[in-house]
C-alpha cells in the first residue's frame, strides 16, 4: 500500500513506515531512549531527503516526548526549574541550529554535515556505552559493588551565576545547564534528534543530577526544543512532513509498548551493550557511505 508524502514528494509503502516506526519504537521502549538518533538515519537510508527526515523527525519527537513526559510527571520525576534553564539554552541553540541548517543547505553541505554529525556523535556515545556496560558486567561478575560519590567537585563548580535546584538537590552555576541546553539544541536542529542520548549522560556526569529525575526533565525540555525546531524548520525550510511524522508515530506508539515489556525481562548492562552495538552499527554504515566513492560524483542540490 503506497502513500504519497506531500512534503518529501515521494511515494512510500505505508507498511514500511509503520514497521520502521514500530521497530524504533520497540527499541526506544526497550532502552528508554527517544530513538530519533536511529530513526533519522533510517529515513535517510530509505531515500527520504535528509533535510525532510530531520524536520519531520523533530515533529515526531514532540509527540513521543509528550506521551513520555506525562508518565514521568505523574510520578513527580520532573525538575521544572532545571528544565527551564536547560530549555532557555535549548531554544537559543535550536534557533541558531536551524539558521545554520538553512545556510549549509544553500551551500550544498547539509547532507554531509548531517551524516558527519551522526558519525561523530553515534561513534562517541556508542563507544562510551559499550565501555560502561562491559565494565559494569565485569564488575558484577567480580561481585564488587563500588559506591560512587554523589558527585565530584571539579572546575565546573567554580563558575559564576550559581543557582539552587531543589528537586535535583544541586547548587551549580546556571551557565552549565544553559551551555548543555544550547549544544543539544543545535544538535536537535541539525540532526533531527531530541538529544536525550547526549542530554542524559551530560545531566548525570556533568551536572551530577540524580538519575530518577534525569529522564523526565530531559523529556520536558525536549518537547519545547523539538517544537521550536519543528516550527522553525517548517517556517524557514518547509521540510516538515506531517503525514510522515504521524505515520512514524503511530508505529512507534505500538512498538514502544512491546519494547517496554521486553525490557523488563532483560538486564540493564546487557541492554546498554545491545544499544551500544546498534548505535555503532549505524555509525559504521554512515561512515562507510562517506568513504565509498559515490556512484555519481554529480548530484542535484536544493531547488530541485
Amino acid at each position: 500500500m503506497q502513500i504519497y508524502l506531500p512534503i518529501a514528494e515521494m511515494s512510500v509503502n505505508v507498511l514500511l513506515l509503520l514497521a520502521m516506526g514500530g521497530a524504533i519504537g520497540f527499541l526506544s521502549g526497550l532502552f528508554g531512549v527517544g530513538g530519533g538518533f536511529l530513526m533519522t538515519p533510517l529515513l535517510i537510508f530509505v531515500g527520504v531527503p535528509p533535510a525532510v527526515a530531520v524536520g519531520s523527525e523533530a515533529n515526531q519527537i514532540v509527540a513521543s516526548s509528550v506521551s513520555g513526559v506525562l508518565a514521568h510527571w505523574r510520578r513527580g520525576n520532573v525538575d521544572f526549574k532545571m528544565g527551564l534553564v536547560l530549555l532557555l539554552g535549548g531554544l537559543a541553540g535550536s534557533t541558531f541550529g536551524v539558521g545554520l541548517f538553512s545556510f549549509l543547505r544553500e551551500q550544498g553541505q547539509i547532507d554531509l554535515v548531517i551524516r558527519l554529525s551522526y558519525v561523530v556523535f553515534l561513534g562517541i556515545i556508542g563507544l562510551l556505552m559499550l565501555y560502561e556496560s562491559l565494565r559494569s558486567m565485569r564488575r558484577r561478575r567480580a561481585g564488587k559493588s563500588g559506591r560512587r560519590k554523589l558527585h565530584q567537585h571539579t572546575w565546573v563548580h567554580g563558575l559564576p551565576l550559581k543557582m539552587r535546584f531543589r528537586r535535583s538537590k544541586l547548587y551549580v552555576s546556571a551557565l552549565l545547564p544553559l551551555g548543555i541546553g544550547f549544544l543539544v539544541g543545535v544538535l536537535a536542529a541539525i540532526m533531527g534528534v531530541g538529544g536525550g542520548f547526549i542530554m542524559v549522560p551530560a545531566m548525570i556526569y556533568l551536572l551530577g543530577m540524580p538519575t530518577s529525575v534525569v529522564v523526565g526533565t530531559s523529556l520536558f525540555q525536549i518537547i519545547f526544543v523539538t517544537a521550536n525546531v519543528t516550527f522553525l524548520q517548517a517556517y524557514a525550510n518547509q521540510t516538515v512532513d506531517v503525514v510522515l511524522a504521524l505515520l512514524l508515530l503511530a508505529g512507534a506508539v505500538i512498538g514502544a509498548q512491546f519494547g517496554a515489556k521486553a525490557g523488563a525481562r532483560l538486564h540493564g548492562e546487557q541492554l546498554r551493550g545491545f544499544l551500544a552495538l546498534m548505535v555503532l552499527l549505524v555509525c559504521t554504515k554512515l561512515f562507510f557511505d562517506l568513504l565509498v566513492r559515490p556512484g555519481d560524483l554529480y548530484s542535484i542540490g536544493v531547488g530541485h
Binding site: 503506497q2 550544498g108 517548517a234 514502544a256 559515490p294
Partner: protein, 268 residues
C-alpha cells in the same frame, strides 16, 4: 517552484482502462471522421490528443501513463517530445577531501526541464539529421542546457550537463530510452507517456512532430497539467504559503497525538 491547483473536474478511475477506451474511440471515430469530412478539411496533416489533459497526484499516486493518440494524412514519421516545466537546477560535484567525499564544486543551470521524454516511430537518427534533432531538442543529448560560458569551458560544461541528465534519469524524470510511437495501419498512431511517482507538478508541453524525408512537415503542441489534488495539494500548498501556521499546526497535531498515545498507554 511552480504549483498548479488543478480544477476539480479531475479524471478519476483507472488510467489503463480510460486509455484503452480512448484508443478504441480513436480507432473507431477517426477513420469515420476522416471519411466524413469534406476533402478540403481532410487535408489537416496531423491531429493528436491526449487521453487526459490533467494528471492528478492523489494519496495513492504511484505514477501513471498518459496515452497520446492521433492520425496523419499520409504515412510519415512521428516524434513526440514531452517537457515538464523549466526549473533552475543547482548541481554539485563531489571530490575526495581527507578520505571523505564532499561537494566541492557547484554549478547552476538557469533552466532545465523538470521532466523530459521522447517517443518516436523510428530511431531518431534514421528520421532526421543531427541539426534538425538539435534544433527541436529531440533526444536527451540534444537538450539545450546552457551554462554561463565564463564559468565553464565547453568540456567542463559537457560533464556538468551529463551529470544533470544522469541524475534526472536516475530519478526517472528524464527517460533513458526513446519510447515507441506505434502506428496502427498507415494513419493512426499512439504513444505512451510514462509519468513516475515523483513527477514534478506544473504545466507540461507535449509537442508532436510529423516528419517526412528528414523535414518537419507540421507540428502540434498540446498542454498537459500535472497537479497535486486533494489532501496532498492542501498540505503542500499550506506548508509553502502559510509556513508559520503550518509549523504551529504540526506542533499542535504532535501534542494531541502524544497525549492520545499517553492515554492509550495508561489503559494497558
Amino acid at each position: 517552484m511552480m504549483r498548479i491547483r488543478p480544477t476539480p473536474c479531475a479524471t478519476e478511475g483507472r488510467p489503463g482502462r480510460r486509455a484503452l477506451a480512448a484508443v478504441a474511440l480513436a480507432v473507431v471515430a477517426l477513420p469515420v471522421a476522416l471519411l466524413a469530412v469534406p476533402p478540403l478539411l481532410r487535408a489537416a496533416p496531423l491531429v493528436a490528443d491526449l487521453s487526459q489533459h490533467l494528471v492528478a497526484i492523489t494519496t495513492g499516486f504511484t505514477g501513471t501513463e498518459v496515452l497520446l493518440f492521433g492520425a496523419v494524412d499520409e504515412p510519415g514519421d512521428v516524434v513526440v517530445v514531452v517537457r515538464g516545466p523549466d526549473r533552475k537546477v543547482v548541481m554539485h560535484r563531489k571530490s575526495r577531501v581527507l578520505g571523505v567525499w564532499i561537494n566541492t564544486a557547484q554549478m547552476t543551470f538557469a533552466r532545465a526541464p523538470s521532466y523530459y521524454a521522447v517517443a518516436s516511430s523510428r530511431p531518431l537518427h534514421e528520421i532526421a539529421a543531427e541539426s534538425l534533432l538539435a534544433r527541436h531538442e529531440m533526444g536527451v543529448e540534444n537538450l539545450r542546457l546552457a551554462l554561463p560560458r565564463a564559468k565553464a569551458s565547453a568540456n567542463v560544461a559537457q560533464e556538468w550537463r551529463q551529470g544533470l541528465i544522469r541524475n534526472h534519469q536516475a530519478l526517472g524524470l528524464y527517460q533513458k530510452d526513446v519510447s515507441p510511437v506505434q502506428f496502427l495501419g498507415n494513419r493512426l498512431f499512439r504513444a505512451r507517456i510514462a509519468l513516475p511517482a515523483n513527477v514534478p507538478t506544473g504545466s507540461y508541453q507535449v509537442d508532436v512532430f510529423l516528419l517526412r524525408d528528414g523535414r518537419v512537415v507540421t507540428a502540434q503542441t498540446t498542454p498537459l497539467q500535472v497537479g497535486k489534488i486533494g489532501s496532498e495539494a492542501v498540505v503542500y500548498d499550506f506548508a509553502y504559503e502559510h509556513s508559520a501556521l503550518y509549523g504551529l499546526i504540526a506542533i499542535f497535531v504532535a501534542l494531541v497525538a502524544g497525549w492520545l498515545a499517553h492515554l492509550a498507554f495508561r489503559k494497558t
